[in-house]
Each structure stands twice: as structure tokens, then as C-alpha cells.
């Protein structure tokens, strides 16, 4: 049963050094606030999983919290490279980052398999690609009926999945809508889960067959209004496209990045503090 918990306590209690952690989101509803809290608490040796690692993974990797990344597309959407991710992969800074690389179809199926308690995902995939040559976790099996060859990859079973959603009710039931990505699967595939939400309401008023996570299937529920910034929450906030562009020069140099992270994340108490400092340094309203 989800307990309504401050984010700091949820991250402290549920994410352990060395865990496999998925902070999921497909452009929309990316749990940035939770990512900052992981950095503030100095978690180490994490295996990060995400289909589309972006700015928050660039930050977690650049701050040295991650030992490995499982992913299918890593970039700054609409802008370009993730410089901290590239520096870790290309130069081993701040330390080498192991990685396991898939296609979106592969990882999406691997989350479904994880949520379904299957040991592997079955798909038509990777044919003709060099990915199976560099990823021993892409294998091929034969259909027992037709003899066709199909791809198999291990299911994703994170220790902890973290997502951001629009709202929850007081019993901990969570409702998200719009671009929902793989978030439901990622939560159900995980041993533990943290859901940050825009608001907690008396009644969800969920439409029929909406994407709802029952409270008893979630470990911790943390009210963090605007907790997806600079990503967005449909119905609550817009994506701050400017910040995605501003991130590019910040992340280009190790020193600039470290100074920025210290000032905006390490030296702030929480996500509201981060947004206050960012509003000062960016010279505009944030969130």
C-alpha cells in the first residue's frame, strides 16, 4: 500500500546503492525531482534503466552515481547530445560507464515481460542490426510451432522504478494520462516504486479504462507539484523547451557542469529550492 511520504524519505528508504533503478518517462512526466534527490543523497553504483535517457540521466551520470546504463536512445531531445553521458562513455569521466544497448522495441517488450513476471521478452527485432553482435543479452530462439526465428532479451526487473504522474487519491491510487510511455509496465516490473504526483485529491475521477495504478501496487507516493520540470505534466504544466537548449552549454564542460550542479542541486534542499535558484540564475520564471 502506497504511503504518502516526503520525496527525500522515499528516496532514502527505497533506493539503495547498487540498485537497478528506472526513472521512466517518454518526454512527458519525467521524474526530474526524484532524480535530483538521488544526486543529493549521493547514491552510488546504480544501474540505470531507461528507454530514453535525457537530461536527468546526464546529471545522475555526470555526478558519478551510475555504474551502468541500460537504454535504447540517449540524447537531449530536440537539441543534440548528452555531453555528460558521452564524456562517461568516451573518456570514462567521472568514471567508466558500462552500458547495455537495445532498441526501443526491445526495451518496451522487456518492461512488459518484467511486469508479466516472465524471464524474457519475445519479439521480432534486431534483424540485420549489429546490436546483437555487441549485446550478448540479445539472443534468438525458434518458434516451437512454425520454426521461425525470434529475438529474445531478458526482462527488465528494476529494484526500484520512479515515475511522475498527474494525480493520486488519498488511498494512493495513481492516475496518469496523455503520453504514458512504459510507466505502468516499469512500475509493475519493479520490486519497489516511487511515484511523484502533481497533486493528491479526494477522488481520482478517472475515466473508464484510464491508466491507473492501484495504491497497493505502489510503494511510496510523494506529492511534488511541478516535479517533472523541465519536462511537463499534461493538464498541469508545459515543457520548458528553453531549458533543454540551455542545458547543452552547461553540460559541455566538466567544470561548468560541476559548478552548476553544486549551486542548483547539491546546495539546494529540494526541488522547490532548485527552481528558486534556477529562476535567479536563468533570470526568468521557472516551473
Amino acid at each position: 500500500m502506497a504511503s504518502i511520504t516526503p520525496l527525500r524519505d522515499a528516496v532514502a528508504g527505497l533506493i539503495r546503492d547498487g540498485d537497478t533503478v528506472a526513472l521512466e518517462g517518454f518526454t512527458h512526466l519525467i521524474p526530474h525531482a526524484a532524480g535530483h534527490e538521488i544526486i543529493r543523497q549521493g547514491k552510488t553504483d546504480l544501474t540505470l534503466v531507461r528507454m530514453t535517457p535525457d537530461l536527468i540521466y546526464d546529471q545522475i551520470i555526470g555526478m558519478g552515481c551510475a555504474a551502468k546504463l541500460i537504454f535504447s536512445w540517449g540524447g537531449n531531445p530536440g537539441v543534440g547530445s548528452l555531453h555528460r553521458f558521452r564524456d562517461a562513455v568516451e573518456q570514462g569521466w567521472p568514471h567508466p560507464l558500462a552500458y547495455e544497448e537495445h532498441s526501443h522495441a526491445g526495451l518496451a517488450n522487456a518492461y512488459v515481460a518484467g511486469a508479466s513476471n516472465l524471464p524474457f521478452a519475445l519479439l521480432r527485432g534486431y534483424t540485420g542490426s549489429d546490436l546483437p553482435k555487441v549485446n550478448p543479452n540479445i539472443r534468438f530462439i525458434e518458434c516451437p510451432f512454425t520454426g521461425e526465428t525470434l529475438a529474445a532479451i531478458p526482462s527488465i526487473r528494476p529494484d526500484v522504478t520512479v515515475i511522475h504522474a498527474q494525480k493520486a487519491d488519498r488511498r494512493g491510487n495513481v492516475l496518469l494520462w496523455g503520453i504514458i510511455g512504459v510507466q505502468k509496465e516499469a512500475v509493475l516490473a519493479a520490486k519497489r516504486s516511487i511515484v511523484t504526483v502533481e497533486e493528491v485529491v479526494d477522488s481520482l475521477d478517472a475515466p473508464p479504462n484510464a491508466c491507473v495504478l492501484p495504491g497497493w501496487a505502489v510503494s511510496a507516493l510523494c506529492p511534488v507539484p511541478g516535479g517533472a520540470y523541465p519536462s511537463y505534466a499534461q493538464g498541469y504544466s508545459a515543457r520548458d523547451n528553453r531549458f533543454y537548449k540551455e542545458w547543452d552549454p552547461i553540460a559541455r564542460s566538466r567544470e561548468g557542469f560541476a559548478a552548476w550542479m553544486k549551486r542548483h542541486v547539491l546546495d539546494t534542499d529540494d526541488f522547490d529550492g532548485f527552481k528558486r535558484v534556477l529562476a535567479e540564475t536563468a533570470g526568468r520564471e521557472i516551473g
Binding site: S72, A105, A238
Partner: protein, 265 residues
Amino acid sequence: MTDRQPDFTATEIMTVAASRLLRDGTVCFVGIGLPSTAANLARLTHAPDVVLIYESGPIGAKPTVLPLSIGDGELAETADTVVGTPEIFRYWLQGGRIDVGFLGAAQVDRFANINTTVIGPYDKPKVRLPGAGGAPEIAAQAREVFIVLKQSPKSFVDKLPFITSAGYLDGGDARQKAGIPGAGPTAVITDLGILTPDPVTRELTLTSIHPGVTVEQVTAATGWDLKISPDLRTTPAPEPDALAALRDLQDRTARAHGQAAGGEG
């Protein structure tokens, strides 16, 4: 190529030429960036009933401004329905319901194989690119594939360091023999012309050249000895309507969130 045409830029004719290839009613799996611009231009001009599917979940998206990322709210709000990402890849792409996969690329080779993974060795990359995203299965499973990218010796290379997504592999019937269901890339649209695969060898051949571009320019922008079609056509200049629609779209987009660029995530 610089913009020596008085009436349109190289990017504009690339976009218009790409958009022309999308027939009305086509179900199109759209990559972000140039493919998304071209697909939406088609929808706003000659193909109002094209169905645009984005890997983030929107089916039948009809954005009024271009998405900056593949998961913009505009896509969800204008779609006929939004499903989870696993469903997009399982029921819609793998399910065999996509007519055209519309992709960008960092690099292609003469057999229209795509690299978006690394420059240099995989284990010790010189440049780490974003990776596969949805492309390997789009390239394999869509009935046909259009690729749109700017042409230069860095992007049109003789030997890819990594095949992320299959075109025709080693050419000939290599793709079929590998058991890949879709027909593969039937057109590569660049800022200089249009390349299509030879019916037998599957080697990319320049079959259309944009007005004002010379064959020498195209050859110089290609990292292998490019085959030129004996029936080389000149790409028709953008129709004024199409050009106006494209510029309107980009103006609206710039007003809404600044200049669009490519990216998943």
C-alpha cells in the same frame, strides 16, 4: 550546397520532396525532426488523411505546430488515440500495420543501411551517437522506408562503423535472406537529390537531382563512387502552396517553442 535558389532553401526542397512521397491515407510511423516536418507538411497539403504514428504513443496525430520532441503534448492532444509505447511497437509496428517508416539518420551507406550508434569502434567510440531508438524495427517492419538526411561525405559513408538499422545489408537479396519482412528503404531524400535503390543490386542510385544542383556536387558529398541514373530527373521545384504551407508551419512552430530540431526522448 548553399542556398543559391532564389525561391527556396536546400532544406525546403528536401522537405517538400520528402513530403511528396507520402500518399494520402498512408499509415506513417514518423521519426522526429526532418521526417516529422515532411510528414506534417504532407498532411497539411496533398495528404490530409495520412495517419501519423509517433513511437511515444500518439496514433493519428494532427499537430498544428511541429513537435520539438517525440513526446510533445501537442501530439497527444491532437491524436485519435494515445496508447502506451509497448503497444505502439507490439500491435502497430510489429503487427504489420505501418505502410511507411519515415526515418532520419546520422549516416547511411550505399545499401541504405543506417548508423545512429557510434563513430569509431563500438567499445571505444570516437563519437557516441544517441543510439537505435525505434529505428531497427521501423526499418525492418514498415512496408517501406523513406530516409531523409543532409548529404555530405560524413553522412554518406563507404563503410558504416556500425549498422544500427538494416537497409539492404550487403545488397542484392541479402535483406530478404535475412528474413526482414518490409521492402526496405525505397527512397533517400537529401538536400541535393533523391536516391533510390537499384532494382537488382539495391545500391543507392541518384535518380533525381534538385534544381540548381550539379552531379559533381552530389558526387563530392558522397563517400563512395555514387551511381547516377541514366534517366536522372530534376526534382520539381516546390509548389508555391507547399512552400507557403511549410513556412507557415515553421513560423507557427518558432512562435510556439523556437526552432524545431530532431530528437527522441
